[in-house]
């Protein structure tokens, strides 16, 4: 893969030997990964391998404690940034368990967030009318009712609605690096296709994705450039999309044997 000194392949994200624990238990044990601009990386692995902890480490959730290692994002030390600063720098997480926030309308959250980012980039604030136009168009892509925007954030949403709402937020906020943490879990095939449509609509040369998933089927719709297998807190194997198929066929046990070898 690339390295820092190569100006043509300056990675967007560079994770170096990161160790992290959650609840006093070591979860990530020296994880390294580089993500270049425009790349889609899929991360697969069994339960408890550290997939969600990786997402937490990258977005600055206090429930994951980094014990050593570093992460460079756009060339700067990611751990030096507060969660909202990371978000304003274009780092987006589609939550595995989207949080319900009664009282705050979806559209309010999105407008506040988008304007915080625009301000950060030195762009003018969007007024309510312009914003709503954008948001409605994005909702349309995901086949969501525009009324969804006026409902409280995830409050009383079904599981599928919550996941779709995460993708809507991603479309509106247009991140540089999006992490999808098991966004496919619990979705039926129709919903999965809609979610994939949203992700694919965003794919371009400057935008990267880390897709965390359990199941290969998502990768039929969001075709990754790289597939990594996470086991026991480290990436034990990397390859292209065929690795996912191989994994599906042989199961994780096969990999864990490989890891210990």
């Amino acid at each position: 893969m690339s390295n820092d000194s190569d100006p043509l392949h300056n990675p967007l994200l560079s994770i170096r030997e990161v160790h992290a624990s959650a609840g006093g238990k070591a979860i990530l044990k020296g994880l390294s990964l580089e993500v270049g601009p425009g790349e889609v990386h899929a991360i697969m692995g069994p339960n408890g391998s550290g997939k969600s902890t990786l997402a937490r480490v990258l977005t600055g959730n206090e429930n994951a404690e980094v014990t050593s290692g570093e992460v460079l994002y756009k060339g700067q030390d990611l751990f030096g940034l507060a969660p909202e600063e990371r978000a304003r720098e274009g780092l987006f997480l589609a939550f595995q368990y989207p949080v319900e926030i009664p009282g705050i309308a979806n559209s309010t959250l999105l407008r506040e967030g988008l304007n915080a980012m625009r301000e950060h980039r030195g762009e003018p604030e969007l007024d309510a009318i312009d914003f709503l136009e954008i948001a409605k168009a994005k909702a349309d892509v995901l086949e969501m009712e525009p009324t969804m925007l006026s409902r409280a954030v995830n409050h009383g949403f079904s599981g599928g609605e919550k996941k779709r709402n995460e993708v809507l937020q991603m479309l509106v906020l247009e991140p540089t690096l999006a992490i999808l943490d098991e966004t496919d879990s619990g979705l039926d095939i129709d919903a999965l296709q809609v979610v994939a449509k949203g992700v694919n609509a965003l794919r371009d040369k400057g935008r990267s994705f880390i897709v965390i998933t359990h199941y290969q089927r998502l990768l039929d719709y969001i075709v990754p450039d790289f597939v990594h297998v996470l086991a026991n807190g480290r990436i034990v194997r990397s390859g292209d999309k065929d690795l996912a198929l191989e994994l599906e066929a042989k199961g994780y046990a096969w990999l864990e044997e490989g890891a210990s070898a």
Partner: protein, 499 residues
């Protein structure tokens, strides 16, 4: 065996064996005062202490008619037999009512800071956050400036316009002189002198306040406001407000102290009475931000207020909206007595307790007439070491056929040192009445804040957004400018409450 008729909190007399005053000390104090001032009617203030002469002095100072003096004395004599209520979930050192000064002239200009440079910078920073214009900041901070923008001048500006419509809007003292027949007719008709300990005290020693009269069929063309009144009169610990809306009239009244005051622990015992006749509507909005004490709970106002409205007429409506962020102790239950058939009572409240503030607040809705309706929306926010109690009473009496009440009381907790308590008292004596009460207590979750952080919002903005979302049903009842101010006030009051 008869079933007791349970009394609502404010009506329940405190046990007699809990009289706190020590008679010996009282005697000593009274002796001191007896010689102090009786002959010297010209003096501008009284030394601390309370006896019948104090009451006479205040009344004389205000050149009140004999009936009003008698009215005050009746209140005072009854107050002596009463004890301070103890049922509220608030805890404060015993108040020595003989150590309070019951009449003081406004501070002279010489005592005040001479420029903004002399004012506490922290206070000025708060004003700035609230978006108060520079000239007003000076006035609020008590700087001696020539043009004090207070309610008196506001009232004066519009007085002629209001006068054309027959609307009276003046200070209570002025009303006593100019409209004695109206004052005499309605004063104490909603909150009698004997109503409760603090109302009796107020009735005896009230200093001043506001009086509003809206004649039959008149819709008051502007919001009547006593925005800065409390500040202009530094001694306004015992104000008395009386609003009378005649048949078919309509008025919206705003009361606010929108800036924190720096002061010692100070007693504030106000009484507000509202009377709405047939088809009249009174909307009463309050933004209360008395000084809450500092981060360690030192200082702050003891706010013991009795507010009650009587919907005397058919189809009349009284609506209370309050945003309470100040005071060290709040004891306050704005209430509606729904006498007229089809009358409507509303109570919308946001109360915040941070640091060491304590609030025991709520409302009473007493349904007497047929098809009376009431709505209670109460939102309590506790942070720091704040303790907050919603105490509300809904009573549907025998004749209240078809009465309806809906109550919703939600509490939001921030931090693990605060408390939120919900104590409704519900009493229904009519089978055709219908009542619903819902309450919830929840916290601002770390996961919620992280989620909003991840969408680019700072923690402070995230908290404000959640709090405003929590309060929006109340904010939308406030007049626009007040709503904006209330939101800012909450965010200022909550600074540092989370992470």
């Amino acid at each position: 065996m008869n079933t007791p008729n349970p009394m609502t909190p404010a009506e329940r007399p405190a046990p007699i064996d809990k009289i706190a005053l020590n008679p010996e000390i009282d005697d000593l104090n009274q002796q001191d005062y007896k010689w102090g001032f009786v002959t010297d009617i010209e003096q501008d203030s009284l030394p601390p202490g309370l006896n019948e002469d104090t009451v006479r002095f205040i009344s004389a100072k205000k050149k009140e008619p004999e009936w009003l003096l008698e009215w005050r004395l009746k209140a005072f004599r009854h107050w002596l037999t009463m004890t301070e209520p103890t049922w509220a979930l608030v805890d404060y050192p015993a108040i020595d009512y003989q150590a309070v000064s019951y009449f003081a002239a406004p501070k002279s200009d010489a005592d005040k800071p001479q420029s903004l440079d002399e004012v506490d910078p922290e206070l000025l920073a708060t004003y700035e956050k609230l978006g108060i214009p520079l000239a007003e900041r000076a006035a609020l901070a008590g700087v001696a400036v020539d043009a004090v923008f207070d309610s008196v001048s506001v009232a004066t500006t519009f007085k002629s316009k209001l006068g054309e419509l027959g609307i009276v809007f003046c200070s209570f003292s002025e009303a006593v002189q100019e409209h004695p027949e109206l004052v005499r007719k309605y004063l104490g008709s909603v909150v009698p002198q004997k109503d409760n300990f603090f109302a009796a005290l107020n009735s005896a020693v009230f200093s001043d306040g506001s009086f509003v009269y809206i004649p039959k069929g008149v819709r008051c063309p502007m919001e009547l406001s006593t925005y800065f009144r409390i500040n202009a009169a530094n001694t306004g610990q015992f104000e008395r407000t009386l609003i009378v809306a005649e048949e078919g009239s309509h008025v919206s009244y705003l009361e606010g102290c929108t800036a924190p005051m720096r002061d010692e622990n100070q007693l504030h015992a106000a009484v507000v009475e509202l009377v709405a006749l047939d088809d009249a509507t009174i909307k009463y909005s309050t933004v209360q931000n008395w000084y809450p004490g500092d981060k360690n709970g030192v200082g702050g106002i003891y706010n013991f207020v009795t507010k009650r409205g009587a919907c005397r007429g058919a189809r009349s409506k009284i609506s209370w909206t309050q945003v309470e962020t100040g005071s060290a102790i709040t004891w306050k239950y704005p209430s509606c007595v729904l006498q007229g058939d089809d009358s409507v009572g509303e109570f919308y409240s946001v109360a915040l307790t941070n640091n060491w503030q304590q609030a025991d607040t709520g409302t009473k809705m007493i349904h007497i007439g047929k098809n009376t309706r009431s709505t209670i929306i109460s939102k309590g926010i506790s942070a720091g070491h704040g303790q907050q109690t919603y105490r509300g009473s809904v009573r549907m009496l025998k004749g209240a056929d078809g009465a309806r009440n809906y109550s919703q009381c939600d509490s939001l907790l921030m931090g693990d040192q605060c408390g939120a308590h919900t104590f409704p008292y519900i009493d229904v004596k009519n089978p055709t009445a219908h009542l619903e009460h819902e309450a919830s207590t929840s916290r601002i979750g770390e996961d919620q804040i992280f989620y909003l952080n991840q969408r680019g919002l700072s923690t402070e903005d995230a908290v404000n957004l959640i709090v405003n979302g929590f309060c929006k049903e109340v904010f939308r009842e406030l007049p626009m400018e007040f709503a904006v101010e209330a939101q800012k006030l909450l965010s200022v009051s909550l600074e540092g409450a989370v992470g």
